[in-house]
Symmetry: C2
Amino acid sequence: MATGRIGEGRGADVGGIADGIATLDAATMAAAGRDAAGTFGGRAGAGLRSPRVRAIYSALLDAILANRLPPATRLPEDDLGSIYGASRTIVRSALEALAHDGVLTIEPNRGAFVASPSVADARDVFDARLLVEVQLAERAARCITAADIAALRQHLADEHAALDAGLQQRAILLSGLFHVHIAEATGQRALAGFVRELVSRSSLIVALYWRRRDAICGSHAHEELVDALARGEPDLAGARMRAHLLDILDGLDLTERPAKSIDLGDVLRDA
Amino acid sequence: MATGRIGEGRGADVGGIADGIATLDAATMAAAGRDAAGTFGGRAGAGLRSPRVRAIYSALLDAILANRLPPATRLPEDDLGSIYGASRTIVRSALEALAHDGVLTIEPNRGAFVASPSVADARDVFDARLLVEVQLAERAARCITAADIAALRQHLADEHAALDAGLQQRAILLSGLFHVHIAEATGQRALAGFVRELVSRSSLIVALYWRRRDAICGSHAHEELVDALARGEPDLAGARMRAHLLDILDGLDLTERPAKSIDLGDVLRDA
DNA sequence: CGACGTCAAATCGTATACAATCTTTGCGCT
DNA sequence: AGCGCAAAGATTGTATACGATTTGACGTCG
């Protein structure tokens, strides 16, 4: 495939993947500049060298978290390279970083695929979230600043706005980010990074196993959580976080249906 | 010793790095094959494609955790490539993975350096460890199997053997692995991976801020911990884990000497 | 004598070429 | 027709070449 041909001319040959990525391509690349709360990959991937790797990393992460790239989607290096106008070197670096975050799986000599967490993975992730986030909520209730509270309320407003505007993808992304923001408000950087990773993987889990049609991560729960934080009640905040996470878990259908890795071939083929 | 101070001239430090790595190079590369409890990088770096990247990743990680490569050591890609007989492509991949784990820092256009955690980083890491590992110890006391107990006791024996044999580097490495093994015994894979990362960073922290001359991570504490686990007493196990971690923290000198992140520049320059 | 600008060496950033591996296709054989 | 094998195609794995950036040094000027 033509190496130097990129930028605009991505449309025809790459079809499916380009749809998933390029739809928000421009917006994402733009968001890569402002480090604001709009994009999930904002502060993530902190160990990435060049801005170009960062950009692809963020774009792919956003696409995956917003479920534009469903689990088990194959991500060939050449295609991504021509879509983003970068060489495979850059793309590989971004893919490896994403694999390290657990949102991609790299099979040697076969390529990268959007991760499709097993039922066991799902339980594992939410176990970890319960253990970590409940305690972080308690701690946040003790140490959170007024500015952080304000920022969280602003975030809630953004969530609502996205939902009201029908931007479901953005709503999903923001609802995940909410948990990351709480973790960051405690000032615990290591734990916040871990929560970010867990939330990322949760997006894939929800994409695979969600059964309810309720509002995802009902903003009601988020608001109650912020209230508990604002009132400085650690126990209440922890309890609400626990209830919220258990509620999400309850909304999943974790019966042993898709066994393990349903193999991605069929998903690719029909496309 | 040669590994002690590097940074004289640009050309001279190649010898230093080679010393730090190649000393145990053969042993490490051999250990890369058997996935046993000998090497830290055994199950880590799970997202790495090729065996060669894995090998370099493990070798570097072991060298760093055993403190053969002290914090702020520069790791030029070319040198590592010639040491391991690999191209920069491979080396870069390994370096990026290590940076993601937090044991390396990559400065754009400048290269990779062994991380030198700030005092704030140190507190951050041990805060996280307290939050996570105490609960994991409680959980382990509930669910651990007899086989895991036996494996832990064997591990304790290895630690003692290393100490008695004067293999201090190996003792340090094993004493970190002990915590990882407990986390893995709970079956919580995500949390175990996080603990592995925190333990790695702790090795650097201890290398930088240790002040006591006691046995590092006194095996006494480890044995009491295993006893509590074997007796199936969650509260006791949790309490002992907490006390153990606080004891380590207490052995650190976290006065604000190196302020925040003066970064490694000065450490390298003034030598 | 110190400060600053220019230059050269070293190192990283990226692209690309080539090799290895896997996948698919088509053919021949039973 | 079914099965197995072999060759072609596609994709990843690795090495290397070249450009960009930084660094340290030297020499000149104020």
